[in-house]
Symmetry: C2
Subunit: 616 residues, 2 copies
Amino acid sequence: MGNNYGRALRIDLSTRKIVNEEIGEDVIYKFIGGKGFAARLLYDELKPGIDPLDPDNILVVAAGPVTGTNAPSFSKAVFATKSPLTYIFADSYVGGTLGSKLRSAGYDLIIVKGRAEKPVYLYINDGKVSIEDANNLWGKDVLEVEKALKNKYGEEAQIASIGPAGENLVSYACVCHQIYRQAGRGGIGAVMGSKNLKAIVVKGSGKVEAFDKSKFNKVVKEANENMRGNKIIQEGLAKFGTLTMVPMAQAMGIAIVRNYSNGVMEEKVAEQLSGPEIEEKYKPKKLACFRCPVACEKPTRIKTVKWGEIETETEFETLMLLGPNIGITNYQTIAYLGLLCDRMGMDTIQTGNALSFAMECYERGLITHEDTGGLELNFGNEQAVIKMVESIAYRKGFGDILAQGVRQLARKIGRGSDKFAMHVKGLAFPAAWDVRGAQGHGLSFAVSDRGACHTSSDVDFIEFSGAPGIADRFSLEGKPKIIKDTEDLASVRETLISCIFNFLPAEIHLRLLNGALGKDISMGEFLRVGERIEQLIRAFNVREGKISRKEDTLPDRVYAEPIPEGPSAGHTISREKFEEALNIYYELRGWNKDGIPSKKKLEELGLEKAAEEVGV
Amino acid sequence: MGNNYGRALRIDLSTRKIVNEEIGEDVIYKFIGGKGFAARLLYDELKPGIDPLDPDNILVVAAGPVTGTNAPSFSKAVFATKSPLTYIFADSYVGGTLGSKLRSAGYDLIIVKGRAEKPVYLYINDGKVSIEDANNLWGKDVLEVEKALKNKYGEEAQIASIGPAGENLVSYACVCHQIYRQAGRGGIGAVMGSKNLKAIVVKGSGKVEAFDKSKFNKVVKEANENMRGNKIIQEGLAKFGTLTMVPMAQAMGIAIVRNYSNGVMEEKVAEQLSGPEIEEKYKPKKLACFRCPVACEKPTRIKTVKWGEIETETEFETLMLLGPNIGITNYQTIAYLGLLCDRMGMDTIQTGNALSFAMECYERGLITHEDTGGLELNFGNEQAVIKMVESIAYRKGFGDILAQGVRQLARKIGRGSDKFAMHVKGLAFPAAWDVRGAQGHGLSFAVSDRGACHTSSDVDFIEFSGAPGIADRFSLEGKPKIIKDTEDLASVRETLISCIFNFLPAEIHLRLLNGALGKDISMGEFLRVGERIEQLIRAFNVREGKISRKEDTLPDRVYAEPIPEGPSAGHTISREKFEEALNIYYELRGWNKDGIPSKKKLEELGLEKAAEEVGV
C-alpha cells in the first residue's frame, strides 16, 4: 500500500508470541484505519459475550494513514476494546505523540491478546519488539512510570501506561500518555491491567511520508490555512485551551452543576473558572501534540496552599466534573483532584460522575456515612473527595463500589436512584453539555456507539449555530438526520485519525487520505466507510446482547426535571418527542423499531457476516 | 385519498375541452404535490425539445396536500412549465390566497395546454369551470386586470393574471396575484401569453380540512409555537419584511452593486434602504398570505415628488436589483420602478439584471446610444431606466432585445460580454447574495434545477451560521453534501407547498402531511420524494439536451474578479476548487462526471422511464 501503510503487530501475552502481519488492501479500502480497523477486529475476532477482563479480550492500538505526517493535528492514537464499564465496544483517543511515534517505529496497528504471567511492558523500537519485565513498575503511579521509563529509554521514547486504577481493574481506568493525556473513556486501562500490561514504550526514527508528496503537501498547506482562518481555534482553543468552553456553557445555561441539577454556576464561580481568568492568574504554558498548530493543552504550575507547588492540566471536562459538578469551586482544589486522577490513571469524567451521583444519594439519605465508611459525602466536601478518589483507585471500602461506575452504583443503591444516574449504557455523561439545553446532542448521547459520548456527532455545533429551521437547541426537530450524517463524518474522522479540534472539513480529510496513500477514493466511498463502521459497531453491540431500543435512552432526570435557573430554565426533553425522533433516527439508519440493523443495510455496506449474525 | 386530495383539472384551450381527473394514490405517494406533480407531468407529457411557446407546452398550477388548511403559511401555489427563458424546467411559487382558494374551489392541480383562438380567461367557481372571453382585458396592465375582475366577481375572487409583458412574450414575464405577489421566475407569464390566457379567476367556498383533524391540529399548534420562537421571523421578517436582509448583505459585504461589481453599498445608501429606516419613514402596512403569522409583505404608500402618491411593495430582491444594482439609490425611484414592473408583469430580478448588464456594456463601450435608441444607458440614469422598462414590456426598439434576457443579450453583444452576464442557464442571479462571499451558495446556483436560484438549497444559512468545519463562507469545503441534502429538503418543502419563510423543520412538515392525508409516511420515504423530484427534473433537463456539466457553471466574473471592497474584499471562487466540489456533488447525486444521472440511481428511485431515456 502507498506510504508503506498497513503494518500490524500481533502479540499474545499468554504465549509471548509476536507476529508481524500486513493488512490487506481490501480491508484498508473498507475501513481505512483507527476506529475502522478496531471495529472490524473486535467484530471478527471476539467471542460474543466474552468477559472484558478475560485474557481473550483484545486490545487494539492504532494510528491512521495520515498519522505522523506533516499534516496538522494528525498525531493521535486510538485504544479500543470490549469495555469492562459498558460491556460494549469502546474506543478512546489519546493526543500527544504516541500515534506518530508508532508509525515511525514501523507499525500502524497493534493487537494485544492474552494475559502475561507477571507484570510486563511492551517495548517497540524501530521494528524490534520485546515483552519486558515490569515487576518494578507495578504499583507505581503514572507520573512515576513515565519518569522511570523515560530515564531508561530517553526523552524521545513515547509511553502509554496505566496507573494503580488500571492495575486494580477500576472499570473506568484509563490509558495515560505524557502525564496530561489520556485515552480516557470506557475503562481501557482496566483491560490493560487485566492483561498484566503496565505500559507500551515506543521508539522510532523512521520518517513518515505521504505516497504522493507534492499532492499531499498542497493539501497540508490548505489545511493549515483553514485552521489559521478558524475563529474558534484562533480566538478560543489556541488561547485558552478547552476552558474557552466554560463561559459558553454558562452563557447558554448548560453548565454541569451538582450532578446535573442546575445549568448555571454562581456568577463568581463561572468567572473564576473561565479560560481568560485562569490565563491571567496562572499563566499556563502551551503544549502541542506532534505537529499541531492549535496547542490546546495548557500545563499549569500552581502554588497551592495545601499541596505545595503542583503542575497539572485541567481541561474543560475535568474542570466541570471534578468542580461545580461535585460542589467544588476552588480552582486549586479542582486542579489537585485532576492531577490525582491523572496519577492514578482514572477517567475524570467517570470519576466526577460517580462522586456526584454518590453525593446526591448521600444528601437524599439513600446512603449514609455507614455506607461511605464514615465519610460525609456532601457536595463540596473537599477532604472526603480526595480520600474517595484514592479509595476508588485502590478499591478500598466504598471506593470499591464507586470503582464500578455510576450505572452499577445505582443498581446497588436502588430505591429509584437510577433516575438521576447520569449515564447511557454505563458511560457517564460528559460536561459538554446539559442536554436539556442541547437536545439533539442529548439524542446523540442516547444512540452513540459507546454510550453518552460528546464527540460522536457534531449536532451540538449545528444546534448552537443559529441556522434557521434546525438550530433550536430546545427541540429535537431536524436533529435525527444531522446526527446520522455527522456520526458518519465523525467516524471517518476517527478512523483517519484526525483530532476533532482541527475542525477540518471532510474534503480536506479525504484529500489528505488520497495524498497519503496515493489513491483516488471518492467522497461517496469515504462517507460510506463512516457509515460502515457505525453499522458494524452497532452489530457488535447488538450481538453482545447488550443493546436494543430500551438502552438507547437517557436518564429520567432529563425528561422529568426542568433546568431550574438561567438561560435554559424550564426546559426538559419531551419523552414523546424523544421516542418520535428515535424512530426517525432508526429509519434513517436502516434499523427496525427495536434498533436492530436490517440485513439489507448491512449487506449493502459489505458486512455480510454481521448481516447473517444479527441482521433482521 | 384522505382529505379529498388529488383532484385535477385538465384544460385544452385549443379544443376548449375541460376534463376532471383524479390523481392516483401511487402518484401521490411518489410525488406528494406541487413541484412533484409538475415534474412528473412535464417529464411524462412534454415532447422533448418542444418550443416553450408552442401550444403543446403545458402550464401546471398546483397546490399541496396541506395548502388551505389551518396550518400556518401553507397558502402558496406553484406555476410550472418549460421555460421560454432557460428552455428547461421552471417552477415558481406565488404567495397570497391562490393556492388555498384553488382547493376551496375543488381542485388541487390544473393542467393547461393548447392555445385559445382569442384572448380568454379561466373561471373556476366551486367545481364549475368555464373559458371566458378576455378581449376587453387584453392590453390591460395587472392593476387594471385585478380591478376589472374583482369588480365583476367580487373581492373574494382570487386572480392570477399576466400584464403586457406576458402578452408580448417577454421571456421573463411573470404571473401576478394580488398586485404585489408574483410567480416571478422563468418566464411563466410568457407561456400564459402564448396560450392567449390572460388570467385565471378562482372562487370557492369549500372548507379545506385535514383527514385526521385532531392529529393535524396538534401539529399546527406546534408549528405556530415553533414560528413564534424563531428570532429571524419575529425580529426580522415579521417586523421589516424581507428588507431585514439589507443590513445583513451590507455587513457581510455581499450586497449587489452595479452588476455585481462591488459587495458593499455606500454607507449612507445602505442605511436609507434598510428595513428599519423604511419602516420609520414610510410606515408600511403589513399584509399576510392566508393564515400566515409572519406577514412579510409590506405594501407601502409613498408620496413621491415625481409620480404623486403611489402604493407599492418593494421586497429585498426588487430593492437591490432595481436599486444599487443599476446605480439607483433613491428609494422612491426604486419603489416606482418596482411598481412599473409589477404592473407590466415582469420579474424584477431578471429585469434588473438585463438593465445592469446593458449598463455595464454601455459604459464599457460595447454598445452605444445607437444601439439603445438614443438612450444614455449609464448606471443611475433614472429616466433611461423608466423608459427602458416600458420598452421591454412592449418590446420596442432596444427593449425587444433586453426582453430576451441577459444570456441572449450577451450572445447578441458578444465581445466577451458573457464574462459579466450574471446568469446560470439563462436564469439571472438574484440579489441574495454575491456568491464570492457565500461560495457554497454559488455552487448551489450552478447546480440548481432551474438556473441561478437562491431558494433551491439552504446552504447559505449553514455557511452564515458559524458552525465550525462547514461554515467558512469563502470556501467550498463541506458544501456539496449540504447542498445535496438541503436541495432534497427544499424539494419536499416545495412539493408540500410550504413557504421558505416559516423555517419549519422537516419533521413538522412530515407530520402535517401525514395528518392532512391520514397516512403514515416515514421520514425516509419523505426525503426520498425530495430526491426523486430533483433527479426527475435533472433527467428532464438532460433530455432537453440543454444540460450537462458545462452548463453547471458560473459567470467568469465570480472566478476572475475579487470583490473590491468591504468585509468580503479580495475573494473570488477558485475555478479549480469549484470543479472539485462539482465532482463531489455529482458523485453524491449518483451522476457521472458529465453530470448525467446513472440508470442505477434513477431506477432506485422508481424512475424507470427516465432511467431508460437518459440514464447512463
